[in-house]
Symmetry: C2
Subunit: 223 residues, 2 copies
């Protein structure tokens, strides 16, 4: 039977990886069941928020008994599509590309990096995390012969949107973009743009705010 | 005169780095003035959202004339505390630490990486982005002799919270955490926890959603 597609609000989706992370940790600690109240404590949310969020995923959790950790992990993994492994290629074998190629959490969450590409002749042929860096000119053939779910763009110049278009034309439907220019999603391709600097900038704001409150500097807003 | 501290909602703060990024790009393209309507088009927000957000920063923008790009950049930079340079140390000279040490946007936004530390004897003494990796045992003396605003934790094990406590005791007030365990902020220290995998997981959800809509897979929520 074909199952109905249930749309989950984006705000909830954006919280799910955090649930997943905390629940995996609880499971590792041997905790089989957890009440929404206890989960709320751990995650610093309210119990009602947690019940609301998890209700979006279906019917589970028993009154007075709580959630079964492993079941919840399974449902979240399935919802997020990380219950099955996905093939990933990296474009750009610079420092960020190398860091992501060696980022343990990717593999743990079912993302298999199957190839890494670069256009720099000095980098092509190098070994990064057991993968030989391939010439980006050869990507067409590679994608034709391998199922690729996600392309990670790790170039440092402004050519990200161009690279993304090429990947989309090859049939890659999801782009994780670390290059400086935002890539716009289209009908054919889904995009998450990552700007690491944004979270550092927010940290900087909070530091400035703290300094003002602590009386170390005078003002935030001039005039 | 001591200036009044004006609290800006966190949701607005979290959007400011994006404004900053777009405005810098517009300035680079030679655009001196921009209406909220045009800015809304570029940033894919509504004009009223933009006027609301920027109103939080003070009084500017003239009816029928719009915002002066450079002024807006200046005010946002000041609000975010990136108008002045800040000293940063990195703990952990693995791939992610190296990637951040060489991440051009940091320097552009006024974050100067002044040292990088590791505990691995094989790594200590290596050169990363013109900095010699120092023994983490020497961090006390270093922080005593240098003004350090931000500590970036790039270790891959579970010792992040311990490292953060040490940095806080040394007087470092802001932690940018890339290690797998969340660090809780305290009265003395501000924290931004970064989990790269979260945005990839969201991409994965959207990919799965697209496949369901396109009829490539049957369901998202099972029973």
């Amino acid at each position: 039977m074909k199952k109905r597609f249930k749309k989950i609000p984006e705000t909830v989706i954006r919280r799910l990886p955090r649930y997943y992370r905390y629940l995996e940790r609880l499971k590792d600690e041997g905790i089989d069941h957890i009440s929404s109240r206890k989960l709320a404590d751990v995650m610093e949310l309210t119990a009602s928020q947690i019940r609301q969020d998890l209700n979006c995923l279906g019917e589970f959790g028993q009154h007075g008994y709580g959630y079964k950790t492993s079941q919840l992990i399974q449902v979240i993994a399935k919802t997020l599509g990380i219950d099955k492994s996905q093939n990933v290629v990296i474009i750009g074998a610079g420092r960020m590309g190398q860091a992501l190629a060696g980022y343990g959490r990717l593999n743990k969450s079912g993302f298999n990096i199957i190839s890494i590409f670069d256009k720099n002749p000095k980098v092509i042929g190098n070994i990064v995390n057991n993968l030989k860096v391939q010439d980006v000119e050869e990507i067409d053939g590679f994608v034709e012969n391998n199922l690729v779910d996600v392309g990670i763009i790790c170039i440092s110049n402004d050519e990200g949107p161009m690279v993304a278009e090429k990947l989309a034309n090859l049939g890659i439907k999801a782009i994780w973009n670390f290059s400086p220019v935002d890539i716009k999603p289209s009908e054919n391709v889904i995009v998450e743009n990552v700007h690491l600097i944004e979270s550092l900038t927010i940290l900087s704001y909070k530091l400035r705010e703290k300094k003002v409150i602590d009386g170390m500097v005078d003002e935030i807003i001039g005039d």
